[in-house]
Amino acid sequence: MQSRSWLLRPFSERSTQLFIGVLLAALALVTVLHLAVPAGHPLNVTAYTVNLFGKYLSYALLAVAVDLVWGYLGILSLGHGAFFALGGYAMGMYLMRQIGDRGTYGDPVLPDFMVFLNWESLPWYWQGFDMAWFAFAMVLLAPGALALVFGWLAFRSRVTGVYLSIITQAMTFALMLAFFRNEMGFGGNNGLTDFRDILGFSLRNDATRLGLFIATGVALALGYVICRAIVVSKLGRVCVATRDAEARTRFLGYRVERFQLFVFVISAMLAGVAGALYVPQVGIINPSEFEPIFSIEIVLWVALGGRATLYGAVIGAILVNYAKTVFTGVMPDAWLFALGALFVLVTVFLPRGVAGLLAYRFKRQRRSSDDTATPQEASA
């Protein structure tokens, strides 16, 4: 149909051009304000803030991943935190191995917590994580494999709607319990921390932090384009059809479960990448990332930003997390009230999110008809 590469196709859309443009401009602006403006100047962006933005951007990538399955496939995953955390743990394991003999106990191979637990040697699943390429591959493969197995089982037997939401939640809950166990070999409830450097660059360096921030921004741009490419392709059309009328799509001859599985795995991998970028910037990964509440929170970001728009997910993630930073700093007790109220208000009064609000505002200017159709709820 089109001669251009499938990855470049989204760029013919106004919304993609705009989003990528704004994102790259923001990256450049933060970099300039951080490097060129002297410290103490009101316009200076401190290293702390750069780090914070980097964290938001990794959350944004995670939100995009969730929007891909929820917005376009109608799967409300309450377990995407698990994929995020698995990617994070893969990165954490690599960073742990990079510490080498600089740990408290000075063991050249074993991480501190294993020495502490009197482990003799590295468990088999820790092998290979000293090599960056292997660890980075696992960032994609570990969440991808979990999504593949879980999705294959779930979609094959046509588990949908709230049932699917509940078992994804059970999945992340079970993983959380498992990772809390010391015997699992992932540091128990302390998780993995005390990282020193990544690819030879010290994590305590401002330059490394800036690099991570830019890398996260680029990953977000890439992830966005990939999702967009999926959405605008024929595959994406089948997904939307599945979302709106699963049975009908099936009767039309599509193997719905295969489409669902494919997109679900892609989404899990993106979530894994987000986790992997999150961990070096935060400096710790522990089982709390598996908590069901975190996974539900991600869905709120998407809902607030606007479902089935992708850029809405980014807006939502950044807005909610910025609010969280502000609230927990000023009045920590009020945050849960605010979050709870957000859940209620957004679902009741803002079903299409901030993006829907924007779309309404600029309705007349929006002539190009992209497929941000109102998501219709498949009857559960």
Partner: protein, 555 residues
């Protein structure tokens, strides 16, 4: 003076001591008492001969020679003084002490620097004393053992039945040559069956240790740990005949024990399952009727538990009455909260189940934080009334805690009640109609909105009841609901939506499965295994154990 020989008596030879020998010391005691009072060491308010005698008895304890101390203990036991037991107990606990000026006191609480004490003779409180003013009457291990058996025997003659029973219990495995003779007599005279049974068992253990083959037959079938210890020792002993028969008896006992352990696991499993059923059944109703996932269900449970706590605060000192009153109170509070959620949020989200899930999750966050802010982030303890604490001992190896049994019974009652509401009332009929086909029910004149509200109130109220029950088993805190919400979902999904029987079977079986796995895999791993099992189960039967059949299933 009691005329039975004291087995531990240092003067006793081969268990044949006559009361006269003890009595012989009496003149000495009197003489010494006189001497003591003359020396002005006795500060007892009365100079009655009895108190003087008591002082002498205690005085004899404060010597350096442990053998002499042993004799002094014997003397106290053989005296008919009713304070003897308290003295011996205090001596055993190291609380019998002497002040600088020679008075005997019992320390009531030996924490901190100043200790509250009371006069050992009169029992009169003497206020607090510095630990430096006091000197403890020391004992060694031999004396400690002597004291323990002495206390047991003293108690065997106590007029208090409970005390006699407890004492007989303690004597298991503690009988030696000296005690066996008098015990036989006590058994003859014992009026209480339980005391007699325990003492015979104690005696039989002793006889087994002596190598008597007949004792094995008597011990057979008893599940007491001491019996097993004794049989084990005999089974490994030198006497081959005794060893074989002891071994056989032991095997029989092990078999029975295994059954008992299975029964215990089943009981714990059912108890845990009943909690799950209580927590999930309200969810099953609302989910079944409205197709709505109420993520705030856990917080409605929490509200029920806090209601129990609040009612207990209002009625201090009457935990039983408070608990009974909190059953309707908890139901009402949670039902009202449920109606508020339904009217305030859910009714605007008709036909959007996933959004409802998110919105109610928001409500759950608000409710949690509300409790944290208004009451406290800390856990609150709810008192368990007396008639619900303690346990029912089925036999020596199996005792069932009463609070769990009460919760189990309560869960079944609630289940039966709900069953009746669903099957026998107009509301139940309407609820079932709306569950099966909302549109058709409406066209038959059923006011579906009203049914929604009532169903939600009912389901939420049951959550409140679950909270009341839970308050008897765990701490009441803001996170109480969160801990149960995922489990409740699992039960509903496992059992099949809109089916109360499914919820009951699923809840109870999940509880039992969990308990069966727990000793083998550990608590956390057991939970993980159960979760994975359910996830896999859903793949096989996406609509649960008891799926809805017919047209309703397609809704």
């Amino acid at each position: 003076m009691r005329n039975f020989p004291l087995p531990w008596s240092t003067t006793a030879q081969g268990g044949a001591v006559h009361a006269d020998e003890v009595r012989i010391r009496t003149p000495w005691v009197l003489l010494m008492a006189l001497a003591v009072s003359l020396l002005g060491l006795a500060h007892a308010p009365s100079t009655l001969a009895q108190d003087a005698e008591a002082v002498v008895l205690l005085e004899a304890l404060d010597v350096d020679d442990y053998a002499a101390k042993g004799e002094a203990i014997d003397a106290i036991v053989s005296s008919d003084d009713e304070r003897a037991r308290d003295w011996l107990q205090a001596l055993l606990d190291g609380r019998l002490q002497r002040t600088d000026d020679g008075r005997f006191v019992v320390v009531l609480d030996n924490r901190g620097r100043d200790w509250p004490v009371e006069n050992a003779l009169t029992g009169e409180a003497l206020g607090e004393m510095s630990r430096r003013e006091l000197e403890r009457i020391g004992i060694n291990n031999a004396l400690r053992n002597q004291l323990r058996s002495a206390l047991a025997v003293v108690d065997l003659y106590s007029p208090d039945l409970e005390r006699r029973r407890a004492s007989a219990e303690r004597l298991l495995g503690e009988v030696d040559d000296d005690l066996s003779g008098p015990l036989a007599e006590v058994i003859e005279e014992a009026t209480d069956d339980r005391v007699r049974e325990r003492l015979s068992l104690a005696l039989a253990i002793h006889r087994l240790e002596q190598g008597e083959l007949e004792a094995v037959a008597e011990l057979e079938g008893s599940l007491h740990p001491e019996v097993r210890v004794a049989l084990n020792r005999a089974a490994q002993g030198d006497d081959p005949v005794l060893a074989t028969s002891a071994g056989e008896a032991l095997r029989g006992i092990e078999q029975t024990l295994k059954l008992n352990r299975a029964a215990e696991t089943l009981y714990f499993g059912l108890s845990m399952g009943s909690v799950l059923v209580l927590a999930a059944i309200g969810l099953a109703i609302t989910f079944g009727v409205m197709g709505v996932i109420n993520m705030a269900h856990g917080e409605l449970i929490m509200l029920g538990a806090y209601t129990t706590w609040a009612v207990q605060q209002l009625l201090p000192g009457q935990p039983g009455l408070a608990l009974i009153l909190s059953i309707p109170a908890g139901f009402l509070v949670s039902a009202l909260a449920g109606v508020a959620i339904e009217r305030g949020v859910i009714q605007f989200l008709k036909g959007r189940p996933l959004e409802t899930l998110l919105a109610t999750f928001g409500v759950s966050l608000i409710l949690q934080q509300l409790v944290r802010t208004v009451i406290s982030p800390q856990n609150r303890t709810v008192v368990t009334p007396e008639w619900m604490s303690g346990s029912l001992a089925v036999n020596d190896a199996l005792s069932l805690t009463l609070n769990r049994m009460a919760v189990l019974g309560f869960a079944l009652l609630v289940f039966v009640g709900l069953m009746l509401v669903m099957r026998r009332t107009r509301l139940g009929l309407e609820v079932r109609a709306v569950t099966q086909n909302r549109a058709m029910a409406r066209s038959m004149g059923i006011r579906a909105t009203r049914v929604d509200i009532l169903t939600f109130a009912l389901g939420s109220g049951v959550a409140g009841l679950a909270g009341v029950a839970l308050s008897q088993l765990t701490n009441v805190g803001p996170n109480l609901g969160q801990n149960y919400i995922i489990d409740s979902f699992m039960v509903v999904v496992f059992g099949g939506v809109g089916n109360l029987w499914g919820t009951l079977v699923a809840g109870l079986s999940l509880g039992v499965i969990n308990q069966v796995l727990e000793p083998w895999a550990g608590a956390v791993l057991a939970k993980i295994i159960v979760l994975v099992f359910i996830i896999l189960f859903i793949q096989k039967r996406p609509r649960g154990l008891f799926p809805q059949k017919g047209r309703a299933a397609e809704g």
